[in-house]
């Protein structure tokens, strides 16, 4: 017992003396989680809460161009500045000069083209219903006119935001086209205008979309940037122990401390196990601190609160296995690296690659299929899958089977190759 105690004390003292390692394990993840969550939250608010600055140049000679501008303004998504004096050549320059993210140029024949297309649709429908004879329809009205609305954007605008804005504008245009087409239809049937009660119905959206996250159990966990980022970056930081633990093992090997321990039976195993115990404690401390900050500090900073999963036992099991996987990987690097720099450099880069392909930085599902397959070799992928099951879907044990099996295999693999190397060097 005394042997284990002194080994644990030694490991703790070595850990406390490694200031850089402690910074990497405790301060870096806090900064990462805070920065990434703030950035993602701001991006979300940019699209969903803030109005997008838009420059509009309306060259339309009819009234539908103005109607389009009114409806874009009513949508609440845009701050619109109309500047009809601009032409096609200087609209790009003015978009940037006036700090606008986007600009649209409504063409000269916008109303005319929509009207012509509406007439054609109306004729086709009335012919189809047998209300008018097809011979009455003039041949020139049988084909549709295409028209272009020019869209300009600041190059800093990311593609997903740009597509989202385009989709919003498109919805407004489709609404205008449909209304115009109905007006034409009623007009062709002898009405002055669309009857008021129909007009009223058309103004209402009868299909609403109820959005709710898919999850198990009765509690509904709403995904937010904290639910994604806190577990992800905590895992990233946990695996960064490779710098401290891996380097620590290389140092002990090269200094001859391991050789001295070879002359003392059991001491070597005690050294290894005391490292495992201390670093599991370190990893769980990292997670506890990060989760507490997500739960209690984030709301005060205007960030979404981290909601803990209901299956706490599963959370503990996944956390301990993730920690053990990180420790096993660090030990593997520690016994194979020839120098401390090699352990630190290779260890850090490999963790960054594991994080990138494993879905820590961007979700795996948006990667190409071959990258998703490659990502499955990353222990971080399985750790984060386990956490996402718990934090985002309120997952049950059966959904964690893949994570548990992979992590156990990864741990076994790392330990096996560590054992082989230590055996080869006659340490055990």
């Amino acid at each position: 017992m005394n042997k284990l105690k002194v080994s644990l004390v030694k490991e703790i003292l070595l850990l406390l003396s490694d200031k850089v390692g402690l910074l990497l394990m405790f301060v870096m993840p806090l900064l990462l989680v805070f920065i990434i969550t703030v950035v993602q939250d701001s991006a979300f608010k940019l699209v969903n809460e803030n109005k997008i600055e838009m420059l509009v140049v309306n060259k339309d000679q009819g009234n539908l161009g103005d109607s389009l501008i009114d409806k874009l303004a009513i949508s609440g998504s845009f701050n619109i500045e109309v500047s009809n004096e601009l032409d096609k050549t200087d609209i790009k320059k003015q978009t940037l000069n006036r700090d606008k993210l986007i600009a649209i140029l409504i063409p000269i024949n916008f109303t005319k083209k929509i009207n012509q297309n509406s007439e054609k649709t109306s004729n086709l429908m009335l012919t189809e219903f047998g209300v008018i004879d097809s011979s009455m329809v003039q041949p020139k009205n049988q084909s549709y006119n295409n028209y272009n609305l020019d869209f300009y954007f600041d190059p800093i605008l990311q593609e997903n935001f740009r597509l989202s804005i385009l989709s919003g504008i498109n919805t407004v245009i489709v609404g205008i086209e449909n209304r115009k087409m109905l007006q034409q239809l009623f007009s062709d049937m002898g009405y002055d205008k669309i009857p008021n009660h129909i007009q009223k119905e058309l103004g209402q959206q009868n299909v609403s979309i109820n959005s709710s996250p898919a999850s198990n159990g009765s509690s509904v966990m709403v995904p937010n940037s904290s639910q994604h980022n806190v577990p992800a970056w905590s895992l990233f930081a946990m695996f960064f122990m490779v710098i401290s633990l891996g380097g620590n093992i290389v140092k002990e090997r090269l200094s001859g401390s391991f050789v001295r321990l070879q002359t003392i039976p059991i001491a070597f195993f005690l050294t290894i196990w005391s490292k495992v115990i201390v670093y599991i404690f370190v990893s769980l401390s990292q997670l506890t601190i990060m989760f507490c900050i997500g739960m209690f500090v984030f709301p005060y900073l205007g960030l979404p609160e981290l909601k803990m999963p209901t299956n706490i036992l599963a959370l503990i099991v996944i956390s301990v296995l993730s920690a053990y996987a990180a420790i096993s990987y660090s030990m593997l690097i520690g016994v194979y690296a020839k120098t401390q720099d090699q352990a630190g450099g290779f260890g850090a880069i490999s963790i960054i690659i594991f994080a990138a392909i494993g879905g820590i930085w961007v979700p795996s599902f948006i990667m190409p299929e071959y990258m998703q397959n490659i990502g499955m070799i990353s222990p971080l992928h399985w750790c984060i899958e386990g956490y996402y099951s718990l934090f985002l879907k309120n997952g049950e044990w059966n959904e964690l089977t893949g994570t548990l099996i992979y992590l156990l295999l990864f741990i076994f693999g790392c330990q096996f190759f560590t054992f082989i190397k230590l055996r080869k060097q006659n340490y055990i």
Binding site: N2, K3, K5, V6, S7, V9, K10, L13, L14, S17, D18, E252, S255, G256, S257, V259, R260, L261, Q262, T263, I264, P265, A267, L270, N426
Partner: protein, 248 residues
């Protein structure tokens, strides 16, 4: 003195796929209470022999027997009666001297009280008391060498293996180390020691084995070897027996 404590029979060691043995059929008996020197040029096999004695590496063939209290024992059974002082600084530079000694004493299975007493004693004897609570990485080479020795002695072993214990230290540290080893030997501790300092070995060792190319080429007391080989001293004897060719 004539009670054997270590007996090596036909000890041979090949490293990896090497065709040349690092140790070639070594037969050697070391007696209780001896100050036994293992001397030779670079690559002679000194460190390999010490490593085999300490169970750090395994021999390719041959046996090593330890005798404690007139009973033949495996070194694993009596590990806490054997001390090892490697040539490298085998300690934790980020810890203090006290923390290092407490740790190594603890893993040898000593009680907390014994470890504390022995730590105080060794730090005093080896002149490290004033820096006992400073991190070892701030020590001079001589202080590190003395701490390296102290760790090997923390559990008061009956046999001590020392691989180049005075390499790279000043005369004061060297004297402190040698004097302490003399003291221990007077109390019955067997010392097996390797060194390149032949003058130091000549003064210190009661018996030496001169090695070259993995073989023991001479084995006797220093005085007898010098007399038989008609050499002026151990240095001349070494040159006579191993030649002047450079060794790496």
């Amino acid at each position: 003195m004539e009670s054997p404590i270590i007996t090596a029979v036909s000890l041979t060691k090949f490293y990896g796929n090497s065709e040349k043995p690092s140790l070639d059929n070594i037969n050697l008996t070391i007696y209780k209470g001896e100050k036994f020197g293992v001397l030779g040029p670079n690559g002679a096999g000194k460190t390999t022999l010490i490593s085999l004695f300490c169970n750090i590496i395994k021999s390719t063939s041959g046996t090593i027997e330890y005798t404690f209290d007139n009973q033949k024992k495996n070194i694993k059974e009596k590990f806490n009666q054997v001390g090892f002082v490697p040539q490298d600084f085998a300690f934790y530079a980020e810890l203090t001297a006290k923390q290092n000694l407490y740790y190594f004493g603890g893993v040898y299975g000593m009680s907390s009280i014994n470890v504390k007493e022995q730590t105080t004693h060794l730090l005093e004897i080896l002149g490290l008391t004033s820096v006992a609570d400073k991190k070892v990485k701030s020590y001079s080479g001589g202080m590190k060498r003395r701490l390296n020795l102290a760790i090997g002695l923390i559990h008061s072993p009956e046999i001590i293996f020392l691989d180049e214990p005075t390499v790279g230290v000043d005369i004061h540290s060297k004297l402190t180390i040698i004097n302490h080893l003399e003291e221990l030997n007077k109390k019955g501790v067997t010392i097996i020691y390797t060194s390149h300092h032949l003058k130091e070995a000549e003064d210190f060792c009661s018996r030496v084995a001169l090695m070259d190319n993995g073989k023991v080429i001479a084995l006797d007391t220093v005085a007898e070897l010098i007399k038989i080989n008609k050499a002026a001293n151990l240095e001349e004897l070494m040159i006579n027996l191993t030649g002047k060719e450079l060794r790496d």
